[in-house]
């Protein structure tokens, strides 16, 4: 199909889609309205189970089964990237040469690295109390390691990042989520039901029953997954070169 014909098709199809979507928008409940039946019920359930962060309660308690699907997608995507970005037969690894780094960049990166890592772990640990949780904290913790690549060089990053270990950690975290879910079955209730552990005191680290455990498993999974993904892409950019 020529570019011109394709543009016409996009214009016609896009125009029709736009009309349908605008008609749908006009029928949606008014913006900022007070009627949120699902939201109100979710807040009530979350408070009943002593979880201060309602979103963590929804993700790791009320919709814990959906989150299992979500982390399975993450796991499968990492697996796919590892397979797609592996070194092929007609490629070889070149040893990257360290480049000089401007002193302020180096100082800043090395000073911020421990702070960023600690912040990531803090966000994971307080997932059931304050905004954040396993997904967000895991990304912060994983990317903080890569400050070493900016501040020092690729070799230094590789030393604190044995990719094999992180791949194992990724798999272990998914298994930990499943095992926590199965523990409910052994306890005589449903898969991933939050009835096994006491709900604890509201607004403390130990509140929420199984929510902190599932949250920690997801935090570990996301951190490992991001490290592995970035490692594979960095390998392609920095190390793997064409030809023998």
């Amino acid at each position: 199909m020529s570019r011109r014909a394709r543009l016409w098709l996009v214009a016609v199809g896009g125009g029709a889609l736009a009309a349908l979507l605008v008609a749908a928008c006009l029928d949606l409940p008014a913006f900022g309205g007070t009627r949120h039946p699902y939201g109100d019920r979710a807040v009530r359930e979350s408070l009943a189970r002593h979880t201060a962060n309602t979103i963590a309660s929804i993700n790791f308690d009320q919709r814990a089964f959906d989150t299992l699907g979500e982390i399975s997608i993450l796991f499968a995507a990492v697996l796919g990237c590892v397979v797609l970005l592996r070194q092929t037969r007609d490629e070889h690894r070149a040893r990257p040469e360290p480049e000089p780094v401007a002193l302020p960049v180096r100082r800043y990166a090395l000073a911020v690295l421990p702070v960023a890592l600690l912040t990531g772990l803090y966000v994971v640990a307080h997932g059931q109390l304050s905004p954040g949780g396993g997904f967000q904290g895991g990304v912060v913790a994983a990317t903080s390691l890569h400050l070493l690549y900016l501040g020092a060089d690729y070799r230094a990053l590789e030393r604190i990042r044995p990719v094999g270990l992180y791949e194992v950690g990724d798999a272990l975290a998914v298994s930990a989520y499943l095992v926590t879910g199965l523990a409910g079955l052994i306890g005589g209730t449903a898969f991933l039901a939050n009835t096994l552990l006491p709900y604890g005191t509201f607004n403390t680290l130990s509140s929420g029953g199984t929510v902190p455990l599932l949250n920690a498993a997801v935090g570990m999974e996301v951190a490992c997954a991001v490290v592995v993904l970035l490692a594979r892409f960095l390998d392609q950019a920095v190390e793997i070169e064409k030809g023998k």
Binding site: T34, G39, A52, N59, E70, L85, S130, P131, N203
Partner: protein, 115 residues
Amino acid sequence: MGVLPYLVAVWIFLVGCYGLATSRNLIHAVGCLSVCQSATYVLLLAVGYRDDATAPVFSDVKPGSRPVVDPVVQALTLTDVVVGATVTALLLALVVQVSKRHGTVDPDALSELRG
């Protein structure tokens, strides 16, 4: 205000679709898909918004003292972000392979099959 936030989501989605259809670079196309996806974030958060409400986190807000925005759509947005990031990573890995095999990232130049 009224229906405007929903229309913004529609607009972002259509802009992303236009970019996908006219893209001459696969990396650009993956970026356009992310734009399409961000329309769903805007739509979900707009559906959950409530006037004069705060975040549905009760670590420093006394339960029942203030209205809170809908936490269900926020959790859905979180799911959306994670799935979007993984799909982007997978697509970019595919682009790396396409560029290695065919030496181009222009979708129009990728018409012939190669073993």
